[in-house]
Symmetry: D2
């Protein structure tokens, strides 16, 4: 109850990985970037604005479908629960954004984009 649901559009920004747990459940994950676009009146063109990187998680059969259909650079549409995960990295408390996906699809609005920005090193 009271979950923060979010819909994000963007690009698969890393390899799609799968990890199997005991009991045969498994999680499929990928890094996704969503970029605002804003109009630059100087150049009269749209340019990339602010970007958000999130880790998307899909479980079990759903995750297998994702791993079979998507790859780095693909346009993607994700809906799910927003989470803010805290973790320690080299002795420092850090924060990472996650989306526990309830629905994922290749975004048919766009073709694949070869030059998806890489996530900053964590």
């Amino acid at each position: 109850m009271n979950e923060t649901m979010v819909t994000m559009t963007g690009w698969v920004a890393g390899e799609i990985t799968q990890r199997r747990f005991e009991g045969d459940s498994q999680v499929t994950r990928f890094r996704m970037v969503s970029q605002e676009r804003r109009y630059d009146p100087e150049t009269k063109d749209w340019v990339d604005g602010h970007s958000i990187f999130v880790d998307v998680q899909c479980w079990d059969r759903f995750g297998e479908n994702v791993a079979a259909d998507l790859k780095r650079g693909d346009p993607v549409l994700v809906h799910g629960r927003l989470r803010c995960r805290e973790f320690e990295h080299e002795g420092v408390q850090r924060v990472a954004l996650e989306v526990r996906a309830t629905a994922v699809g290749r975004n048919l609005r766009f073709a694949a984009r070869p030059d998806v920005p890489l996530p900053l090193a964590a």
Copy 2:
């Protein structure tokens, strides 16, 4: 400004149609159904709950991608502007829900469903 954005998951509930206008713009449309699922404690099973039918519209190249990738019965994830269109049908004022899509994808959470409910006659 102040648009009502909505994300819907469900199924393509009709044929995908395309219509070309002068000037070479075109709109691709399909009927979609989104169904709530609720747990029935009597039968201890999930059953279909309330359903919403909407007309989804995708323009130009985006619409061509949709028409090439989706067909009736496919699971779908749609994000866009919600609109409530009024029209007259046999002398009676009616209301239909539309979504002007900004993103559409085949929902990888599910496989295709052969028994998608038909929309009620308008």
Copy 3:
């Protein structure tokens, strides 16, 4: 599960009514209008665009808070489940949009607006 959640901003477009049921539960309802705003390059001003009317429902104590705080013309922000209710009116099948609210607040972005558009006759 699989509910269509929606967030709408707009104005309270009618009186706020309350109805009590046996067993002491009660529902508070009001009509709300959400209007898109678009920039008119001719007049160089923002004008009202497409509008959506919905019936908002709040239950029990939540509804009492709503009835105590809001009145016709107030700016409002609503989050909840979107429903499409079908009903018969004078022998004709009709459709009405409802939001079963999970959260409602007076929208602090705006002051009250005396000229909220009236809903069209059902």
Copy 4:
């Protein structure tokens, strides 16, 4: 274009601050916490689950209304653009979540809560 919009419900988790810039624009900010609630079958009660802290920003007149109406501990409903701001703190790159609010209201579903969890030290 392509912004990630989010609707969050929760509690004002800190003081509301205002800062004025040259040219008379001003920003009002507050820290907000949104907590998932989950049912614990052991105790048969709802317990606090995962929580998200965000910085909410409201500009100018909108922000003045927020500062006049809300205070720490109040239930709140926020809609706006999700942003992930990176900053350096004691030589370490950190990430903070922001919502550039387009609508904010006191959530009439709840009364004020005196024991709102404090944000973790950044």
